[in-house]
């Protein structure tokens, strides 16, 4: 089975978010970057599927040279080779088009990625790649099993889940608990250094959005404490001050 796993290179979930250049650019200074948590689930499931069914895993990232540390981590976790498409991933349509352009003549059985990136939170790249390649897409999948040329999945819906069956090739947006995150071992880290990382220039796909500027949410005012013996005061505040009851 040939699997493509698309990963994002995003700030660690505990990072302080700030912007520079007139609020047009993320401030990466002092920030630790990681494989997107949802993409990490996708990669972990790909490694498990390869163990069960054999095959190969290619990990792909659309990003600048600074993302190669993150891509190497993907190789250490278990991908066989890596591709970096040398462009800023600043629009969902652009990223989806670049992924589809790379994948179109490579006969991948599965294209896995996270349900969304945790920086842009678009959540649409998997659906776009599916339409661009004219293959089905499912997201967010909490379970993914492969039997021959059929995938069986649990897809989360608002307030529950659906059991979905689809034929391969297929695009899947992943989320927990599809697999356990894998921590690279020493052998993986050593072998990742010698695995192939190919850098490709973008095909120059069209963008659907253009960034104007970022803003940070307003600071919260201090928490008003209510005594545990006086819960009626809390009810009163919610009713008459916050006016939400």
């Amino acid at each position: 089975m040939k699997i493509l796993v698309c990963i994002t290179h995003v700030p660690d979930t505990t990072s302080k978010i700030a912007f520079v250049e007139g609020n047009k650019k993320f401030d990466a200074n002092g920030v630790q970057f990681i494989i997107g948590p949802y993409d990490d689930y996708a990669l972990a499931r790909a490694v498990e599927l390869k163990e069960q069914h054999g095959g190969s895993i290619t990990v792909l990232n659309v990003g600048g040279i600074d993302t190669e540390v993150t891509i190497r981590k993907g190789l250490a976790i278990g991908a066989d080779e890596a591709v970096r498409i040398n462009a800023e991933p600043d629009d969902s349509m652009f990223v989806a088009s670049e992924i589809a352009n790379y994948a179109k003549d490579k006969d991948f059985d599965l294209i896995l990625m996270g349900r969304e990136s945790i920086d842009n939170n678009g959540g649409v790249v998997h659906a776009m790649v599916g339409v661009l390649l004219d293959i089905p897409s499912v997201s967010p999948a909490m379970r993914l099993d492969i039997d021959g040329s059929t995938a069986n999945m649990d897809k989360e819906i608002d307030g529950g889940k659906e059991v979905v069956e689809a034929s391969l090739p297929l695009v899947v947006g992943c989320q927990e608990p599809i697999a356990e995150w894998k921590i690279p071992n020493m052998r993986g880290i050593m072998s990742a250094r010698t695995k192939t990382l190919t850098v490709l220039e973008p095909s120059g796909a069209d963008k659907g959005t253009s960034i104007e500027n970022y803003e940070l949410p307003a600071e919260k005012s201090a928490c008003k404490m209510v005594d545990a013996s006086n819960v009626e005061e809390l009810v009163d505040l919610l009713k008459n001050e916050a006016k939400i009851l």
Binding site: I17, N120, P136, E162, E165, N213, E215, M225, V235
Partner: protein, 311 residues
Amino acid sequence: MKVLVYIESDGGVIKKSSLEALTVAASLGEVVGVVLDEVTNAADAGKYGASKVLTVSGLNGGSSEDVGNALAELSSIESADVIVMAHSSVSEGASGRLGVKLNASVATNVIGLPDTSSGFKVKRGVYTGKAFLMVDLPKAKKVLTIKKNSVELSGTGNEAPVEAVSLEVTSDIRIAVKEVMKQKGDVLLPEADLVVSAGRGLKGPENWGMIEELAKTLGAATACSKPVSDADWRPHHEHVGQTGIKVSPNLYIAVGISGAIQHLAGVSSSKVIVVINTDAEAPFFKAADYGILGDAFDVIPKLNDALKNAL
């Protein structure tokens, strides 16, 4: 500008989040509502700005593929410039699909009304609740999904005429839904205006009774932290946080949750946050509007009684 709005329903009634989508659409121009399942109050879409409502039967809500295909078809019949949907598990997939099919600019998680004074600018939630991004949507066609609770509803218009249309939507045979498992009777978490959430401080799944009681008194949905769903104390679809459901209710009550940054990412757009915790150092108090330092087992039953008396 002509705007198509996908109207979702719950229990045969238009979802509040879809009324918000209609409100956004009405700020842009002429609005056509689209209903793809059985809705008893379709005409009410008019009160929120729709000039007519099209009902398509046979899709029964549908998967995001079917919804995307149906909306693509209807948008060309109606010559719509913009498609607006509430952000949901269906619209997320449908919006990506529509983006490619219509060669449209797509913006998900849009907050509030677009700014059309120059270009077509929308504000989106990014960095998982930690920041906002203004983007311009340059393409002739645009697809938006609206984050829940980000616009005020007025609902002062008149009922809209409802027209049945028949549509040939061929479902993709390469993909099939075998079974749907959905919680019944309770308030859906992503849609809820009020949420009562609990964490490890509750010590075990057997203690959730008081949380459910409190939620029932308020008419709230129940939620939980990641460790709780990881331990299978509560189902995954109740997990709120960075890698779970992101909620934006009017009121979020957090009981026995310390407030790790990953949990806060899922709740930061709540209007009012109440934190009940025994640990004065719990980081959640810094993100809260109101706090009670105390034991949930003591505070929650008392709060439930006080609310019963007051509501």
